[in-house]
């Protein structure tokens, strides 16, 4: 068992608390089949891979990937980068990842190289074709409205009720997915062919209500030999929040 990063410093009143979806990502990314796939996709002789997590929240997933880079990729020259719309999440993520890297180094593990966690909307500030592995645990719950991204007040001079309202809004950004729970995920999917490198892979978490099989069919219709496959799932029996993880990649890496 690889160590799960500590997030005890994170304030769950305003940052998404690691839950079943987060842990499904950890289990999937470190599963023997994904480890094998990733080491084939990024052979040690090739240039250093760059990992981007979109919507890091507590930072537990990015910290896990960075701290265990040697295990997951079979190499430790892996750079990792995070982005979140929530400023508190950026601060929390930095602390979580730095802690995991320190713990890994102390346990003579093989951590990667953490670069940054920036505040931003999805991949809007990322240079095209630069990401080798993109990880996204989206706001996937179907909701009537999609919360707006901007205009949040981070001033410390606020009344308690203003703070409460702001924090509730920040939390809603981490789960409220709009129509079919897919509004934000659809925007991210549109960005994937732009932001991924020729050998790039996306890992996107979906719930049953997002209709994963429809999403796969849509990806397979993209120009450029794209495909997608379910590489991890949980809650198989009943429950409306059955989760799965899609791996999205080009069958033939373009030159």
């Amino acid at each position: 068992m690889l160590p799960t990063p500590s997030t005890s410093h994170v304030d769950y009143d305003r940052i998404y608390e690691p839950a079943e979806d987060s842990y499904l990502l950890l289990d999937t990314l470190s599963s023997p089949s994904e480890v094998e796939f990733l080491s084939k996709q990024f052979p040690q002789s090739e240039i250093a891979p760059l990992v981007l997590e979109v919507g890091t929240g507590s930072g537990v997933v990015l910290a896990f990937v960075t701290g265990n880079a040697g295990h997951i990729f079979g190499r430790n020259d892996v750079a990792t980068l995070g982005v979140d719309v929530n400023e508190f999440a950026c601060e929390g993520t930095i602390q979580t990842v730095q802690g995991a890297v320190k713990d890994a180094a102390a346990a003579s593990g093989n951590p990667g190289q953490f670069l940054e966690c920036c505040k931003g909307d999805l991949t809007s500030a990322v240079k095209p074709q630069s990401i080798d592995v993109l990880i996204f645990n989206p706001p996937y719950v179907p909701t009537e409205h999609l919360p707006i991204l901007t205009g949040m007040n981070y001033d410390s001079a606020m009344t308690s009720s203003q703070k409460f309202e702001r924090d509730s809004h920040l939390l809603s950004l981490s789960y409220a997915g709009g129509a079919d729970g897919m509004e934000t995920t659809n925007r991210l999917l549109d960005e994937l062919p732009v932001v991924l490198s020729h050998r790039g892979i996306g890992y996107v978490l979906l719930c049953a209500q997002n209709r994963p099989h429809d999403v796969i069919a849509r990806i397979q219709a993209w120009t450029g030999d794209w495909t997608a496959e379910i590489v991890g799932s949980s809650g198989k029996k009943a429950g409306w929040e059955k989760l799965c993880i899609l791996r999205i990649w080009r069958r033939e890496p373009c030159p």
Partner: protein, 132 residues
Amino acid sequence: MKVLTLNFLTCARKTCKQNPAAFPLHPKEAELEQIETDINPLFIQNMLPRLDWEAMKTVTNELGLPNLPLETPTAEALVDESSGEPSQTLKDLHSLLMETSVASGKLVCANCGHEYAVKEGIANFLLPSHMV
């Protein structure tokens, strides 16, 4: 914001995406800080081919940092010939790319002129809704 990260970021505005002037972002009024980290020679070696060397020369120059070599150093230049240890070139690159950070200041797009703020090391690329 580490100097290395600037190699992977661009202006967040859709209208700037196709414009070469939107990369790299130009640091302005930057307060720098130096944070020591363990050197990973393999990482530097395998990261160098990914760098837009001209862009990195521009930003290090604008930050008032020591000049980068004219061309991307070769793998041989990263190892000290006699000892087999990391060369001074490698140590300098590690210090510049991984240990030097913009603690606060702005990152400016040369195409649209938009300024992205950096506060306590965190860059804010969230645009006001009318600019997206």
